[in-house]
């Protein structure tokens, strides 16, 4: 090749930026899309089982969350960031946490609470201390206890007594009533059916434990959620309720009953693992998960609410900054016993 054929680079438009110059192809929106993908199995099963009442709730929660985020961003004169998909995830989770057949307007109030009060008032994605979907759910639970405690068990079949509610009522009935209620309840339960398709009533997302576990395993395999949170959360609940059951099996339900009932699996795989509101380090995640497990059990066994997952996660959300500080490791090569500024 002759000298004058050599083309030299044009240096007038070179980009100069801080290293590193390679970047992963991962992004926030990809992470959120994977979370949505992991929630699809349970969403599909619930829509198949409950039909329109579930689809409506999921649709209006999701659409409501996106709309509230757009509205808030407009009011705050901030860029609209719905493309990151986090409002979609919040909406989907909120929908899965409501009973099928919840009136549309209550779904929209939930969306307003979740995104407006749970996320945007703090400054949007990454800034919220509490899981927005849980803020929405708990807000509705307090405001509309009647609606929030009427459950469909199938098309056109309703109940107000979920397994956990029966358990809670039984406890309140005292020793003798509890023993009777317990044995009757346990005789009705088929764990295999429960695992596949929950016929006992509950939130939309409690329809199939198996679908939740599949989704959770997908997220763990992709390293999107930290496996420590669901693992230690579920383990803590199993150990805690197991000990209670061993101490008095006439008063307390067996651990497998607790693992499959209520929102434990949904909470452990999809709600407690919310990155923004859980600790950053893996040690912190373990502390967080064990805390969630203990609070859940205390509320379920001795509290007046039948279910404690939402409250447990909210309380541990509040403790997350503290856990972050207390579990921050020492740098590589640092001498031992060098505490952080608290």
């Amino acid at each position: 090749m002759s000298e004058n054929e050599i083309r030299m680079p044009d240096t007038s438009r070179l980009i100069v930026s801080s290293s590193p110059h390679f970047h992963t192809t991962d992004s926030v929106s990809k992470i959120m899309l994977w979370v949505i993908a992991a929630l699809l199995p349970v969403t599909a099963v619930s829509v198949w089982h409950y039909g329109l009442p579930a689809l409506e709730v999921i649709f209006f929660c999701t659409a409501g969350c996106v709309a509230v985020e757009v509205l808030c961003a407009r009011l705050m004169r901030r860029p609209i960031e719905i493309n990151d998909g986090s409002a979609l995830v919040t909406g989907l989770l909120l929908g899965l946490n409501l009973p099928p057949g919840t009136p549309i307007w209550i779904c929209l109030v939930g969306a307003l609470l979740a995104i407006g009060l749970g996320k945007m008032v703090f400054g949007g994605i990454g800034c919220n201390p509490f899981n927005p979907a849980i803020v929405g759910r708990v807000g509705l639970l307090i405001a509309f206890p009647q609606t929030m405690n009427t459950w469909m068990t199938g098309p056109d079949a309703y109940t107000t007594a979920t397994p956990l509610k029966m358990l809670s009522d039984a406890h309140l009935a005292g020793q003798e009533g509890a023993t009777n209620a317990m044995s009757e309840m346990l005789s009705q339960v088929s764990y295999g059916d429960w695992l596949l398709l929950n016929q006992h009533g509950g939130s939309i997302g409690e329809i199939s434990a198996l679908a939740l576990i599949l989704g959770g395993i997908l997220l763990i395999a992709l390293n999107i959620i930290r496996w420590q949170i669901p693992f230690f959360y579920i383990l803590t609940v199993a150990v805690f309720t197991g000990l209670a059951w061993l101490s008095d099996s006439s008063l307390y339900a067996p651990p497998q009953y607790h693992l499959l009932s209520g929102g434990l699996l949904l909470g452990a795989f999809f709600m407690a693992t919310d990155m923004v509101t859980s600790p950053v380090s893996r040690t912190g995640a373990i502390v967080f998960a064990i805390g969630c497990g203990i609070i859940t059990c205390v509320i379920r066994l001795w509290g007046s609410y039948p279910e404690g997952v939402s409250f447990a996660i909210l309380i541990m959300n509040a403790l997350t900054p503290l856990i972050d500080r207390m579990t921050a490791g020492k740098p590589f090569g640092a001498p031992k016993k060098k505490g952080l500024k608290l």
Binding site: M1, E5, I6, R7, M8, P9, D10, T11, R13, L14, I15, V16, S17, S18, S19, P20, H21, F22, H23, T24, T25, D26, S27, V28, K30, I31, E81, D84, S86, G123, G124, I125, G126, C127, N223, I224, R226, M275, V276, T277, S278, P279, V280, S281, R282, A285, D324, A328, G329, K330, P331, F332, G333, A334, P335, L340, K341
Partner: protein, 470 residues
């Protein structure tokens, strides 16, 4: 002794992109003009010994290392000192420099006396030679090697580690050097070991260079050198991580490898040491990878220092498309430059051209606290939390969360799904904390000086207050 490899914490797996690993080293042809900065090392600039209009010969010392931490500079060829001026450095600053116009003869100067029987020479003589030859750490930091090889007597060194890891993607210079000059590298290692008086020599090479691992194992069979094949994970070649991988020792924060009995040298540096000792050749050339998809024919060249980047790119056949970034060094820690007038120096391991498709441009978002930066930080810091503190300008808080231990390897920025400029934040905080400390130190010194002055004044004004002392 069995080979035990430990796993350092964190790290990332960026694309390797070592497209030049099969290209043999080619000596770059003589240029008409070299731009030689007087500072190619950490420390003070070298002190100029020549003037405008002087005729110099190849290998002649142009500037000496009279300053405390410094390294001499030698002429890359024979010719005329055209000008004593400044030139653009990699970091965008102007450096003192000389322009050397080649006479085309390439006449060598009287060489430093070769020491072929270095096995019998005194360590002090070998050290002096390494200093005179202007050898610096060629892996990137460019710290004068003579200082690294003369630890204070209270630091007992028992392990010499040679860094042939080359964990930066794209770069292949060290790889080619190990394949093409294994004997010189082995001699250089043994010279270093003799100077330090150590028996244990470990050569770390990443497994993606299996040909180099095999060759070096073959060549070192009869020596005490142990060749260790290491997992491919960035930053395997970072000094602290490499030491840990090979010895399980941790360099204390704020400390040096010699605090734990180790000295680390890069393969290119030990090669230069062998050349300086055995052949008497000072350091005025090095192997540099010129690579990247926009180039016509990327490869590895032996350049004389002072070769402008433009000439290196011309040697690689120019470009087929305009690059969007040009980087001095590798893609993880290299510095993006905006001019091709910058000369190759003793620590230019690579010149990387990136096309528009390879350069990712993105909007930085809020931290979603996914914790991936935590999982990848080899120094076990919390980059995400630090970056939020730094955005809030809470530098004292960032300091208590150990921002000063950041080595700027780039793992956190690489992995961040929110595209946050984490390393840039760390650099900002480190600069700010350093400035704060210096200001505090200056203020303290000024206060003490003032108090001493006032005390003296008081003592002078009231001699009567202490009559009893007379």
């Amino acid at each position: 002794m069995p080979e035990i490899i430990y796993q350092f914490y964190g790290g990332v797996h960026p694309p390797q992109a070592k497209i030049s690993s099969q290209d043999a080293i080619v000596s770059a042809p003589l240029l008409e003009r070299y731009v030689i900065p007087l500072q190619m090392h950490i420390g003070a600039p070298a002190r100029l010994l020549v003037q405008k209009g002087n005729k110099v010969l190849r290998g002649q010392m142009l500037a000496d290392a009279s300053a405390f931490v410094s390294a001499p500079i030698h002429a890359p060829t024979s010719g005329l000192i055209k000008e004593v001026t400044t030139c653009l450095g990699v970091l965008g600053t102007q450096l003192p420099a000389v322009i050397l116009e080649s006479d085309g003869e390439d006449t060598p100067a009287e060489p430093l006396a070769p020491i072929p029987n270095w096995q019998d020479s005194a360590p002090a003589d070998l050290l002096r030679r390494i200093g005179d030859a202007g050898i610096v750490g060629m892996g990137g930091a460019a710290f004068p090697t003579v200082i690294k090889l003369s630890p204070p007597p209270e630091k007992k060194i028992d392990t010499l580690i040679i860094n042939g890891v080359e964990c930066e993607p794209c770069l292949t210079a060290d790889h080619r050097l190990m394949l093409e000059s294994p004997d010189k590298i082995i001699a250089g290692m043994q010279i270093c070991a003799r100077i330090l008086g150590v028996k244990r020599i470990l050569l770390g090479i990443e497994k993606n260079k299996s040909d180099a691992v095999d060759l070096m194992r073959n060549k070192t069979q009869d020596t005490s050198i142990q060749v260790c094949a290491l997992d491919v994970r960035y930053p395997q070649g970072a000094e602290k991580q490499l030491i840990y991988t090979l010895t399980k020792r941790k360099v204390p924060t704020g400390g040096l490898p010699m605090d734990i009995g180790c000295v680390v040298q890069n393969v290119a540096s030990v090669y230069a040491i062998a050349e300086a000792v055995i052949d008497g050749t000072p350091l005025y050339q090095r192997i540099t990878t010129v690579t990247g998809t926009p180039l016509q024919s990327p490869g590895n060249w032996r350049f004389r220092v002072g070769t402008p980047y433009a000439e290196a790119i011309r040697l690689a056949g120019g470009v087929t498309e305009d690059p969007v970034k040009i980087i001095s060094g590798g893609p993880m820690m290299g510095v993006a430059v905006y001019s091709l007038d910058i000369p190759i120096t003793k620590n230019t391991s690579g010149i990387l051209l990136m096309s528009g498709a390879e350069v990712s441009q993105y909007q930085s978002k809020s931290c979603i606290r996914c914790g991936r930066c935590n999982d990848t930080c080899p120094m076990q810091l919390m980059p995400g939390i630090l970056s939020v503190q730094i955005e809030n300008e809470s530098f004292d808080l960032a300091e208590s969360w150990h921002v000063m231990d950041c080595m700027e390897c780039g793992c956190c920025s690489y992995i961040c799904p929110a595209g946050r400029p984490l390393v840039q934040h760390m650099r900002r905080a480190k600069a700010d904390v350093t400035a704060l400390h210096q200001a505090a130190k200056a203020a303290k010194a000024a206060k003490e000086a003032r108090e001493a002055k006032e005390a003296a004044k008081e003592a002078k004004n009231s001699p009567a207050s202490a009559p009893g002392k007379k």
